[in-house]
């Protein structure tokens, strides 16, 4: 993902974690089948997940993918 593309894709993963019982990064990683470093990279906006991981994240929070990820692109 180029820097400009990463700037366009935003997410609310950290906010959603805190809103769901202050879930830790490790707990979220375990739920979605990813590494904690991947959750860190996602929250820092340095990694764009696959469709499957995006859906898993949304399901872990009980929300839609649009509630988790927002894209400001053209």
């Amino acid at each position: 993902m180029t820097p400009s593309e990463s700037a366009q894709l935003k997410n609310r993963i950290r906010r959603l974690r805190f809103d769901h019982g202050e879930m830790t990064q490790q707990e979220l990683a375990d739920r979605v089948g990813a590494a904690r470093q991947t959750i860190i990279a996602l929250e820092a906006g340095k990694y764009a997940p696959s469709l499957l991981l995006a859906f898993r994240l949304a399901k872990a929070f009980g929300v839609t993918t649009e509630d988790v990820f927002q894209w400001d692109g053209d």
Binding site: G33, A35, T38
Partner: protein
């Protein structure tokens, strides 16, 4: 609250490979100077037998042990992002290996042919060539893994 993130399996593999290589280099120079001093040879003469110390790099095969992380509760040892990191690092390693390998093959051939006017290449050079290429591949791959992890790291907060 800040905490330290444990090293990912790929990071541990990369560090293991780099440490093995550093040990091999250190052993090589120790052996080189020892041979030169003990057998009263010049460094150039002692350089070839001292290369045997790079056999330590055979321990790289054990690095795959680090890909299995029992402490991780995740269902997989390499998730999608880590698989991408490994794939990119492997591409870089193989590309560098190929460049070094071809350069050495053509360079040695050109030197022996046009400078030394020698019709043959010493047979002992061939395994050396492959082994050097493997070293370049593994070291480049390990550095690429660590750099990618470093670039994608964010705040280490809970």
């Amino acid at each position: 609250m800040k905490d330290t993130v444990p090293l990912a399996p790929l990071q541990r593999l990369a560090w293991f490979n780099l440490i093995i290589f550093a040990v091999a280099v250190a052993l090589y120079f120790m052996t080189l100077f020892f041979f030169a001093w003990h057998f009263h040879r010049s460094l150039a003469v002692a350089a070839l037998p001292a290369l045997g110390m790079f056999g330590v790099c055979g321990l790289w095969g054990l690095g795959n042990y680090f890909l299995h992380d029992r402490k991780r509760h995740a269902r997989v040892n390499l998730d999608e992002r880590e698989a991408l990191i490994y794939q990119r690092a492997n591409t870089i390693g193989v590309a560098l290996f190929w460049e070094v390998f071809v350069f050495l093959c053509m360079g040695v051939w050109a030197y022996l042919s046009y400078v030394r006017h020698q019709a043959t290449i010493p047979v002992g050079f061939l395994p050396l060539l492959v082994f050097l290429g493997m070293i370049v591949w593994q070291v480049a791959q390990s550095i690429a893994i660590l750099v990618q992890y470093r670039r994608s790291a964010g705040d280490d907060t809970l």
